[in-house]
């Protein structure tokens, strides 16, 4: 809901922004006598004629950088993993002793089961050589090492109720098994699938006239704003079966092309649904990571947009 409010507010802001962009566009083409009348600083803003408006609007294009944000955390590198392990070991060593009496009522069945599941520490006996040092036990805890708390599993009572092979998928007692990080789409290298490369940001690119680019659309009518054009254009090439969220009506990048045409890029995220290409509009489409974009794009085009493409 707050996002709606913000969208409205940003919409107002864009009115201001697009006008300032528009006026810089217009001043380069309109005779100097008209330019002074356009200037708001002198307090007399004169609306441009429909012809002037259409001419300047035809020189603006709304590009769209549509991304699918990472779904899972990035892969941990071996060095990071060993560092995390070391820190975890230290943390567990410094932890307080598990307050058993708080969680299990004395003499209850639950306490009995918990006690049975625990591994007893080695007792200190005089005259015995201990390879790992003399045990230092306080309240049933070996104080020199981390405390291993074993939680008695409910599955052990009836193994069939909690089977991991998914026999009873509706059972609340079933064991939670994580899905693999490498999906079917990764194995088959299906670039049209949104379920590939789960730990990376994927970008939608389309192929038109044998060139791979981010989608780009012209402004329609006299009042359509950049982000509105981007949202409308996306539905025209990819159908209405997706939910997208436009991050801001402020463009994130600009490419000044040939013939004084400027292409402003609007940033957006796909939240649900699928992009289903409409064949009459585009030749092909793909969801790619940053490295893959570099291979597909023209060198100059990639280098201009490289700063706004996420590394991860």
């Amino acid at each position: 809901m707050s996002m709606n409010c913000r969208q409205i507010r940003l919409g107002q802001a864009l009115g201001r922004i697009s006008r300032s962009y528009y006026s810089t566009e217009a001043t380069s083409h309109i005779p100097s006598s008209t330019t002074s009348s356009l200037s708001t600083e002198q307090g007399s803003y004169v609306a441009p004629s429909p012809e002037q408006l259409a001419e300047s609007r035809s020189k603006i294009r709304a590009g769209l950088i549509l991304s699918r944000t990472p779904i899972v955390t990035p892969e941990v590198k071996p060095f990071e993993e060993s560092y995390y392990n070391y820190q975890q070991e230290l943390e567990r060593r410094l932890m307080w002793t598990f307050p058993k009496s708080f969680y299990f009522k004395k003499g209850s069945m639950a306490e009995h089961k918990f006690n049975l599941a625990q591994k007893k520490p080695i007792q200190s006996v005089k005259g015995v050589f201990y390879e790992r040092g003399i045990p230092d036990i306080k309240l049933g805890r070996e104080r020199r090492f981390k405390q291993e708390v074993v939680i008695p599993l409910a599955e052990e009572e009836g193994a069939d109720s909690g089977s991991a092979n998914g026999a009873d998928i509706d059972s609340v007692a079933r064991r939670i098994m994580p899905e693999p990080r490498i999906t079917e789409a990764d194995k088959s290298n299906d670039v049209a699938s949104l379920s590939r490369k789960l730990d990376r940001t994927l970008y939608l690119i389309i192929k038109q006239q044998k060139t791979w680019k981010f989608p780009s659309f012209s402004l329609e009518g006299d009042v359509e704003l950049l982000h509105e054009a981007a949202e409308r254009g996306l539905r025209q090439i990819g159908g209405t079966g997706m939910n997208t969220w436009t991050v801001s009506s402020t463009p994130t990048a600009v490419i000044a092309g040939t013939g004084s045409i400027k292409e402003f890029f609007i940033k957006s995220h796909i939240l649900a649904g699928q992009f289903s290409a409409i064949k009459s509009e585009i030749e092909d489409f793909a969801w790619l990571t940053k490295e893959e974009l570099k291979e597909k794009f023209d060198k100059q085009y990639y280098e201009t947009l490289e700063p706004v493409i996420s590394e991860q």
Binding site: M1, S2, M3, C5, R6, R9, L10, A13, R16, I17, S20, T69, P70, T73, P74, V76, E80, Y83, Y84, Q87, Q88, L90, E91, L94, F102, Y103, T201, V247, S248, T250, T252, K267, V308, S310, Q312
Partner: protein, 298 residues
């Protein structure tokens, strides 16, 4: 007192503060730490080891695993936030500040500063032009609980403290009454409850438990109220005793908890104004509801 505006004023103490014994514990000697003689006895030596060294007895490991929310912030939220909070052709804006006394008169010593000009009593922060260097981040989260039954039964702070420790996995500190309120039988120094300040992994764990497990289970929850916020980027929300039951740590052995108390959660951000803080927090699956008031100074 020394080196300030009112340097000429006579200090009515026997020894000047600058003449007390000081020591530098780190090289290079760029600042000095004041010490007392008993600090120098051998049993105090461990305190000289920095807290972030594993040698120190106060050391606690901080980076024990990957931080899911931090990764999300770095990969997605930060760049979006820069775009959303960007304002075209914006300039730095100074906030309203309290006004110090000039120091012309000796009576100005220790006189409290005047409130800011206008009808606002609280000073506001300066708003700087948004760049990638000053993006709002969540600095810390405070969870606090007041229990008014502590006035009559002082031991009631114990379940409050244990509850906070359970849901945040951090040791809480006690809160004391600041002044006497005779109609409530409250005296200065009485224990009123407990609070815990979270940062790092403990903070992000708490926020994700809140946004993924607790708040979705509360039937009446529509979102954090848009009226919440202290005007300088800190947003707070409240949970009732019934809401606390949804925390998995409490739910696992719910029968143990005879009495639970509600709590206030304050999310401290580095944003200068509340709307920027709301934009950041809404990126962490914490929705907002109601009409949002945009301050005129934004």
């Amino acid at each position: 007192m020394n080196g300030g505006l009112i340097q000429f004023a006579r200090g009515f103490h026997a020894t000047s503060a600058s003449a007390k014994a000081k020591i530098s514990v780190v090289e290079p000697v760029h600042h000095l730490v004041k010490y007392k003689k008993w600090h120098l006895k051998p049993s105090m030596a461990p305190f000289l080891i920095p807290k972030n060294s594993p040698e120190s007895h106060r050391y606690r490991p901080a980076t024990t695993r990957q931080d899911r929310i931090l990764e999300h912030y770095n990969n997605t939220i930060a760049s979006d936030l820069l775009l959303i909070t960007h304002k075209h052709e914006s300039t730095n804006k100074l906030g309203v500040k309290t006004r110090e006394w000039s120091g012309e008169s000796p009576y100005h010593i220790n006189r409290p500063a005047k409130p800011p000009r206008g009808n606002r009593l609280v000073p506001t922060q300066d708003i700087k032009v948004r760049t990638n260097k000053n993006l709002p981040v969540i600095e810390k989260v405070t969870v606090e609980t007041y229990d008014k039954t502590c006035v009559h039964a002082a031991e009631n702070y114990i379940p409050v403290k244990v509850m906070l420790q359970q849901i945040t996995s951090t040791k809480p500190t006690l809160i004391y009454a600041k002044k006497n309120i005779p109609t409530w039988n409250l005296r200065r120094g009485m224990v009123m409850g407990a609070k815990v300040e979270l940062g790092g992994r403990a903070m992000t764990d708490f926020l994700s438990t809140l946004s993924l497990i607790v708040l979705p289970r509360i039937k009446e929850f529509k979102g954090i109220k848009n009226t919440s916020g202290d005007g300088s980027g800190n947003i707070s929300l409240g949970l009732t005793a019934e809401d606390i039951r949804h925390f998995p740590e409490i739910e696992a052995n719910g029968e143990v908890w005879n009495k639970l108390s509600g709590c206030n959660i304050i999310i401290h951000t580095s944003a200068q104004v509340d709307p920027d803080a709301r934009t950041l927090i809404s990126g962490l699956n914490l929705p907002f509801t109601g009409k949002e008031k945009i301050p005129s100074r934004v």
